[in-house]
Amino acid sequence: MKDYLILIAGMGFVTFLPRWFPLFFLSKREIPKLLIEWLDLIPAAILSALLIPALVVGGEPKIMAFKPELLASIPTFLFALKTKSLGGTVIVGMALYWLIGKGLLPFFGL
């Protein structure tokens, strides 16, 4: 148990550090305009970098594949674009993915 405590304390510390450092130090100083403009693009970049591989890359070792995640993402994306509703998109996305998993979508001509 002592070894385990050291392990999770170490994991916790190295996880906290990068989360904490910019909030603690950047919030008190003038951030250069160019850096602000760069940081402004970071969320779109990170979200896309998190999302797209989850849709088209799978397996171990990793390969590109056609996944049900990708099939469900297209109507989910259109729904999000149209409604801008986070909760609604989550529900619709789950329902679509579930229907695809059940193999029910062909019945609806989709």
Partner: protein, 226 residues
């Protein structure tokens, strides 16, 4: 009264994250139990670390008999991407109390970052509400991992498409970010690079690498091509 209001509004923004964490938390609890951790140890890791992907990796490394140093170094690499996210958030928290910012930093995850940032950008958001989002997500994560450790194997896999909750959330949050040509171009570059890098480089450093290059190219595009 205002505080209560912040809790209510924060909670209404946090629930999609909580919903998305439940299946992942269960899965983690089940795997950690199989690797020999007790529900107490599982809960403690979720409290101390609060980072899904690195917790999964740590448990599989533990099962393989890896050293603590190797696990901690891997955790550091896996979670380094939050440096970028906290930097982007810091822009909105100028001059805020550093103690509260430190507490907020504890709860910065991919999901809470994206939800809070979208709201902060809309302008109707503050540190209180952001803290509520982080701590609700944290509570959902801790609870679902511990419950998974007790008996997640009894919950059917893939029930109601809940595995898709986080992907659907990211899709919508990405849509929120696409507010102009430079964002769309940056996102397309990041997506393509992330796919290529994820195929070439082991681990998840492809996220940080693709994001940094794409944001830089997006900035160059904006400065020199428009």
């Amino acid at each position: 009264m205002r505080q209560n209001n912040d809790v209510r509004i924060g909670a209404s923004a946090a629930w999609p994250i909580c919903l998305g964490y439940i299946p992942i938390g269960f899965a983690f609890g089940v795997l950690a139990r199989k690797a020999g951790l007790t529900p107490l140890q599982i809960g403690m890791m979720s409290v101390f670390v609060f980072a899904g992907s690195s917790q999964f990796i740590a448990v599989s490394m533990l099962a393989d008999g890896a050293s603590a140093i190797a696990i901690i170094l891997t955790t550091f690499m896996v979670n380094l991407r939050h440096l970028l996210m906290s930097s982007a958030l810091a822009v909105f928290f100028k001059g805020e109390d550093r103690k509260r910012l430190s507490l907020f930093a504890y709860g910065v995850t991919d999901e809470s970052f994206a939800v809070n940032l979208a709201r902060l950008r809309d302008g109707d958001w503050n540190l209180n509400r952001s803290l509520v989002v982080n701590q609700m997500a944290n509570a959902a994560w801790i609870a679902s991992t511990v419950i998974g450790g007790f008996g997640g194997q009894f919950i059917p896999e893939k029930a109601f498409g809940i595995d898709y909750a986080l992907i659907a959330m990211f899709i919508c949050l990405l849509v929120f970010q696409l507010r102009g040509r430079k964002y769309v171009i940056t996102a397309i570059i990041a997506g393509i690079l992330a796919v290529i890098f994820s195929l070439l480089i082991p681990g998840n450093s492809y996220i940080i690498l693709a994001s940094v290059i794409a944001a830089t190219l997006g900035l160059i595009f904006k400065k020199y091509l428009t």
